[in-house]
């Protein structure tokens, strides 16, 4: 049992007041270890809300530095941070919001050589990455390591997310393998309304907090999609697929794969 300080009782009072959270739930949040992969459009709101909520340890993986074109949606990074590693910029904001949070930074790409080692240190993983090879890598590594995770994707005015717990539908149950490299949206199609990242990221943060406190029903075996143009939200039921190559009864994938990413280099356009 954590002995809450007076300051902590005050800081987390709006959580503690919730009957479903209370002191016990807040304690679970403060003992939680969450890995956020990607400190970009999704990772930014996820990290900010998890820090504010008092998650005990937040790990952040990102090999990039802040670019001016990121600031339209990656709200954890400020204008002064351009050129700074995203993990450093994110760590600074997390600490400023909540000094109680321990931050682990990984200034590197997640790939088949480090994924399992990094993931095994955490209780819940949030996919905030921007590309399909890493989305499949996170899925496969989490399935292999029996770790729950939140998947997130955004494109233009749309977002989608689901939560995976061991035994429920995984990303490969829905999308068997990455799209062909040449099929990724072209640069002109690949934009995104900045606030969409916040909409989707805060859903992922809420799912993370629900996971640790055991509140309600997680987005398992359901894919939530929304179109911000009409503000229509839909949850599509999805089933765990017995023929899934990673979580089915006869898995054919027994090691992590580094897929090639189809390149759309916005910086050169």
């Amino acid at each position: 049992m954590i002995d809450f300080t007076g300051e902590q009782i005050q800081r987390y009072s709006r959580h503690i007041l919730l009957k479903d959270v209370g002191v016990e739930g807040q304690e679970k949040i403060m003992n939680a270890r969450v890995l956020v992969v990607g400190a970009g459009g999704l990772g930014a709101p996820v990290s900010l809300y998890l820090a504010a909520a008092g998650i005990g340890t937040i790990g952040i993986v990102d090999a990039d530095v802040v670019d001016l074109s990121n600031l339209q949606r990656q709200v954890i990074h400020f204008t002064k941070d351009v050129g700074v590693p995203k993990v450093k910029s994110a760590e600074e904001k997390i600490k400023a919001i909540n000094p109680d949070v321990k931050v682990d930074t990984y200034y590197e790409f997640l790939d088949s050589s480090n994924a399992l080692d990094i993931i095994k240190e955490y209780d819940f993983i949030v996919d905030g990455t921007d590309n399909f090879p890493v989305k499949f890598l996170i899925n496969d590594a989490c399935v292999m390591a029996d770790k729950p995770f939140s998947h997130g994707g955004i494109l233009r005015f749309n977002g989608q997310t689901f939560t995976h717990l061991p035994g429920t539908a995984c990303y490969r149950c829905m999308f068997k393998e990455p799209p062909p490299a040449g099929a990724v949206p072209t640069c002109s199609q690949a934009g995104v309304l900045g606030a969409i990242a916040g909409m989707l990221g805060t859903i992922q943060a809420a799912e993370t907090l629900k996971y640790f406190t055991g509140i309600g029903e997680l987005l398992t075996n359901r894919l939530l999609t929304f179109d911000a143009k009409t503000m229509q939200f839909r949850t599509v039921p999805v089933k765990h697929r017995d023929s899934c190559p990673i979580c089915g009864s006869n898995p054919t994938i027994d090691h992590l794969i580094d897929y090639e990413q189809g390149a759309c280099d916005l910086k050169s356009h």
Binding site: N131, V134, M174, V184, V238, C264
Partner: protein, 73 residues
Amino acid sequence: MARIIVNGEAQDVQLPLSLTELIKQNDVLQPEMVSVQVNDDFVDRTEWDGLQIKENDAVDFLYFMGGGNLSEK
């Protein structure tokens, strides 16, 4: 005419109709970027041509979505 449900909304279609043709009719921008569920079961890409749509089928197109920025790595 036969009534089917596409992405949760009623649609009237002319049968016979293969899944590949339905995808075309729905102006799916990049068919290689969707995964398709018919009556809650995923249909492998290789079976799209052979699958015939029936009255009352519920079809869902699930799109690949990355992070909105595909330039990073």
